[in-house]
Assembly symmetry: C2
Homo-oligomer: 203 residues x 2
Amino acid sequence: MLLYHDPRAPNPRRVRVFLAEKGVAYDTIEVLIADKAHQTPEFRKKNPIALLPVLELADGRVLRESMAICRYIEETQPGPNLFGEDPWERAQIEMWNRHAELELLWPISQVFRNTSKFYEGRIKQCPDFGQQMREHVTERLAWLEGELGKRSFMAGDRYTVADITALCAIDFGKPSQIRLSAELHPNLTAWYSRVAERPSAKA
Amino acid sequence: MLLYHDPRAPNPRRVRVFLAEKGVAYDTIEVLIADKAHQTPEFRKKNPIALLPVLELADGRVLRESMAICRYIEETQPGPNLFGEDPWERAQIEMWNRHAELELLWPISQVFRNTSKFYEGRIKQCPDFGQQMREHVTERLAWLEGELGKRSFMAGDRYTVADITALCAIDFGKPSQIRLSAELHPNLTAWYSRVAERPSAKA
């Protein structure tokens, strides 16, 4: 398997952490967004809409979208279950993975796109929207702080794909100065330690 | 089963269309966003982040997030398969469902939130961001027009959950004057007729 990725982008990292948890070996090709390598005609043959990551199988089939890739890995590779063992657990994990994605990763990415120096001149930035998304994340972290008082991991009492998404989201807040605070977020801070200490977090 | 929904919002409609395709009977409670009914303390007991839809099972368990609900229905109810029959088909459908969601439904929703009269005074609107998302949708429709020349439905040669998401997205473009054009989008227009003609589209 071959993963097209950018080491600094959050969605490719979700897949790398997932593959590390599964213990799956794979090759990589770096496609650096900073160099606009994702927008070349060559890469657009792999993904016409110029998004990372992309997984290429040994037979040449190509899969886009981080969660489509992770689901395929979940079903075709051995290793720990990360999407749920029965319909109700699968639904719970899907719910919390989507919360982590839509309430954290997505708005945090929008803060970066719309307010960072990195994107200045690359896209038409809307700083007002970035600011709103920053406030949205503040609210959602306050909510999740309460949730993580009830259990050890995002979706229950074990580590799942929802923790991978939330970890990648929180870490991608760093360049926008979005951080957990030990004072405001003791439960989230303890959760973060649990997931960031795993060897897979370095992937 | 009890579905908390707003008849005019696109995410609850995804679940209603899905349930109609499955032929599943269910009760509904209307939670009208126009009346701010989703923001009451009572509804926040069902969903603390005030989003629709919410599914309540007979035993009182509650599930949020349209795709978590649809996956649970897929696994626990008979009826046609809408998420894929094997790992590769499931990965393809997940990929196209996410494309329909992230490249159509989500930006179309942002156009509405940031430029509509409906949201004036309800949220702090960023019309510039709305305009950018409008341009994004125009580009993505041009891409999907080519894709739908290769096959009859979003994810392949049969109707799946990816068509439900794309249908609800296109229809939610109407209040923002985002429409398919028979001239620019002949393939998408033909696809739209195929999915909009199904009885489930009225759900």
